[in-house]
């Protein structure tokens, strides 16, 4: 479904991704772990098309098409979803209205019939039930005045309604207490399916206790330096990223390295 080859990307002139390669198939859950500044969030932003991220080399193929050639809204319509690390507030815009506009915009691009308010409401009710989210969030403005946990839950709820093929979760677990974490994890588990792939970007092992990944990758200095199954995450928990970094020689081109 997703094939990233030798991806190099810059932000404000600084190279962050330095030859990242990764392949994700439908139905798989991949966890991307790594220290601060390794390029985890950059990967999510590059995949969803955020402005200001310049791809200097490499390719990203999604379902056979060049993902990097698409505008963010086209990627969304093609089934790519990014759950934000910091969901954005849009004052005065009703959450339900926003979500319906998003879904209908995507459906329009895909040549599907747009949903009227009754059909949409029905869909929303179903999803609320499955996700075990209170409908109180629906009546408020998009993320406005939401607690950290509510914002993250809202992201998962949006994902449930938009039904993406490739969901990228950017540190969805950060800032959550254990109850909220469980709720979010349960939401993700509900959405796991053979047709859908997940890319979970996280700092910590604890999310992986609840959403068990098929693969774990360690991202360090802009590259995947180690891949494995869920046991890799446990190893990381025990030894820290430093232990992983040791097994790889320092890149002489790395900033700060002594030439």
């Amino acid at each position: 479904m997703l094939k990233i080859e030798n991806l190099h990307a810059r932000v404000e002139g600084k190279e962050i991704l330095k030859g990242l390669s990764l392949e994700v198939n439908a139905g798989e859950v991949h966890a991307i772990m790594g220290p601060n500044g390794a390029g985890k969030s950059t990967l999510g932003n590059v995949l969803s098309g955020r402005d200001g991220y310049e791809v200097t080399a490499g390719t990203v193929t999604y379902n056979g098409i060049d993902l990097l050639a698409l505008a963010p809204e086209e990627r969304a319509a093609a089934g790519v979803f990014l759950a934000f690390q910091y969901p954005v507030e849009i004052p005065g815009v009703n959450n339900t209205y926003f979500l319906r506009a998003a879904l209908n915009a995507q459906r329009k691009v895909r040549g599907e019939k747009e949903l009227d308010s009754m059909q949409f409401l029905k869909l929303v009710r179903e999803k609320l039930k499955v996700m075990q989210i209170s409908d109180e969030l629906l009546h408020r403005a998009v993320n406005e005045g939401f607690s950290g946990g509510e914002k993250k839950r809202n992201e998962i709820f949006q994902m449930a309604v938009l039904e993406p093929q490739l969901a990228i979760l950017d540190e969805t677990d950060s800032g959550l207490d254990i109850d909220a974490l469980k709720q979010v994890a349960q939401g993700v588990n509900t959405l796991r399916s053979p047709q859908r792939a997940f890319l979970m970007i996280t700092h910590y092992q604890r999310l992986l206790d609840y959403v068990v990944p098929d693969f774990v990758h360690v991202l360090a200095d802009g590259r995947i330096v180690e891949s494995g199954d869920k046991s890799l995450a446990l190893k990381l928990e025990e030894h820290g990223y430093a232990g992983i970094g040791m097994s790889h020689p320092a890149d002489p081109r790395r900033p700060g390295a002594v030439a």
Binding site: P72, E73, P87, G92, A102, A105, V142
Partner: protein, 492 residues
């Protein structure tokens, strides 16, 4: 105790370019067509003879002619105001025609020229009563005259008088004489004086004691003729305990010259009366290079004359090359309430200097101001407001909220709040924010599949929510659409 606060804050928009929210491309103005109809009128020029001629055409009584002449003589002595943050090319008052009207004067709605009916139809204002919006009575003003007022009979049964100002002067002279100029005196300001001298038509509404007007009343102003100014005069009087909701809409064809619109609106609310006045102003704003467009210099004022009365102004301003307008409320009666809800959008080279004045005279009077300014392109958008608590305004309160939203990096938003507090028990609150549509908001919307332009409309709509919900339903929908059209091409 005499405390005067004078606070000026100005936020220049030297913001970095928003990715995605960039330069101006084009803008469609769907009301910009010209109606080909045989017209009659006065040649351009302004002197006492013009005013006498105008008064004669309208078959006005002597007192009205004299009233106009007095205003004209006063106007001649007045300097034109230049305190607003506006660049206005000098206006040649002798080059303007002060009266233009369709040649055939209709006597009733059935006799209105089909071309005119078609014009209003195109603008979405059907004048056939059966086709009209349910529950909305319309007075249609075309250039200098009212071409028809719908539902007059039904309104008359409720005791409500709703007709053109010209008719009111002839048919209800005692009411007109009692109230005309009682809120905005002839010499109030330069443009009000000019209007008093040459006003041609407008709407007249009178709601007698205890009557709640059974339907929304509205006036639709259309400027069509070239080189003509529109100087309408509207007077709304709500007697004790009366309620009325009044809507006003405005459009004009696309023309390369600037045209002057200098209106005066007076509202009088007696004891326990309530007047709600809503405007959706969409005068031709000029093209993307700033050529043409209406100069909208308007004096609107309401007088809460009785205790426990309430006057509420809601405006959505997207049109005009230049807007100079401060709908105000004089809170004379004890416990009276004044409200001002405004959305002003400027694009291209439009300039707006708009806001309100709340003059608190009575005890425990309350006022609320919510102003939302949106600037795009190279436009300049200023909020100017005065809150005045006079000595007798015991326990009076004001709350002001001024928010500006910037789209792009070449526009400007400015806030000029003036406060004068002469009663120590009065409370004045002011909050102001300036924001721009952030890259984060745009990306968030787009990452969910919402295209750029829709995302901008959605964010702007959310920004204006507080004001839109004050508008009557049909107008709220129209206002929303209008903002969308007005923002077309604001993102690139």
């Amino acid at each position: 105790m005499n405390e005067i606060m004078n606070n000026q804050s100005s936020t220049a928009a030297t913001l970095r370019d928003n990715a995605g929210v960039a330069e101006v491309l084009g803008r469609s103005y769907s009301a910009g067509f010209i109606t080909e109809i045989e017209m009659t009128g006065l040649p351009p020029g302004l002197n006492e003879e013009t005013i006498r001629a105008l008064s004669a055409i309208k078959r006005e009584p002597e007192w009205m002619t004299e009233w106009r002449l007095e205003a004209y003589r006063h106007w001649l002595t007045m300097p034109k105001p230049d305190w607003a943050k506006l660049n206005i090319d000098p206006i040649d008052y002798q080059a303007i025609s002060y009266y233009a009207a369709p040649k055939v004067a209709p006597k009733s709605l059935d006799e209105v020229d089909p071309i005119l009916l078609e014009t209003y139809e195109k603008l979405g204002i059907p004048l056939h009563e059966r086709a009209a919006l349910a529950g909305v009575a319309v007075d249609a003003v075309f250039d200098s005259v009212s071409v028809g007022t719908t539902f007059r009979k039904q309104l008359a049964e409720a005791g409500v008088l709703f007709c053109s100002m010209s008719e009111a002067i002839r048919e209800y002279p005692e009411i007109v004489q009692k109230y005309l100029g009682s809120v905005v005196p002839t010499g109030d300001n330069f443009f009000a004086a000019l209007n008093s001298a040459v006003f041609s038509d407008g709407s007249f509404v009178f709601i007698p004691k205890g009557v709640r007007c059974p339907m929304e009343l509205s006036t639709y102003f259309r400027i069509n003729a070239q080189n003509t100014g529109q100087f309408e005069r509207t007077l709304i009087v709500a007697e004790e305990g009366a309620h009325v909701s009044y809507l006003e809409g405005c459009t004009a064809p696309k023309r390369d010259e600037n045209q002057l619109h200098a209106a005066v609106v007076e509202l009088v609310a007696l004891e326990k009366a309530q007047i709600k006045y809503s405007t959706v102003q969409n005068w031709y704003p000029g093209d993307e290079n700033g050529v043409g467009g209406i100069y909208n210099f308007v004096t609107k004022r309401g007088d809460c004359r009785g205790d426990d009365s309430k006057i509420s102004w809601t405006q959505v301003e997207t049109g005009s090359a230049i807007t100079w307008k401060y709908p105000s409320v004089v809170l004379r009666g004890d416990r009276s309430v004044g409200e001002f809800y405004s959305v002003a959008l400027t694009h291209h080279y439009q300039q707006a200097d708009t806001g309100t004045k709340m003059i608190h005279l009575g005890k425990h009077t309350k006022s609320k101001i919510v102003s939302k300014g949106i600037s795009a392109g190279r436009s300049s958008n200023s909020y100017r407001g005065l809150v005045k608590m006079e000595k007798g305004a015991e326990g009076a309160r004001n709350y002001t909220q001024c928010d500006s939203l910037l789209i792009g990096k070449k526009c400007g938003a400015h806030t000029f709040p003036y406060m004068e507090v002469k009663n120590p028990s009065a409370i004045v609150e002011h909050e102001a924010t300036t924001s721009k549509i952030s890259d984060d908001q745009m990306f968030y919307c787009r990452s969910r599949g919402i295209p750029q332009e829709d995302a901008v409309s959605m964010i702007v709509d959310g920004f204006c929510k507080q004001v839109f919900r004050e508008l009557p339903m049909e107008f709220a929908v129209e206002a929303k659409k209008l903002l969308e059209v007005s923002l077309e091409g604001a993102v690139g």
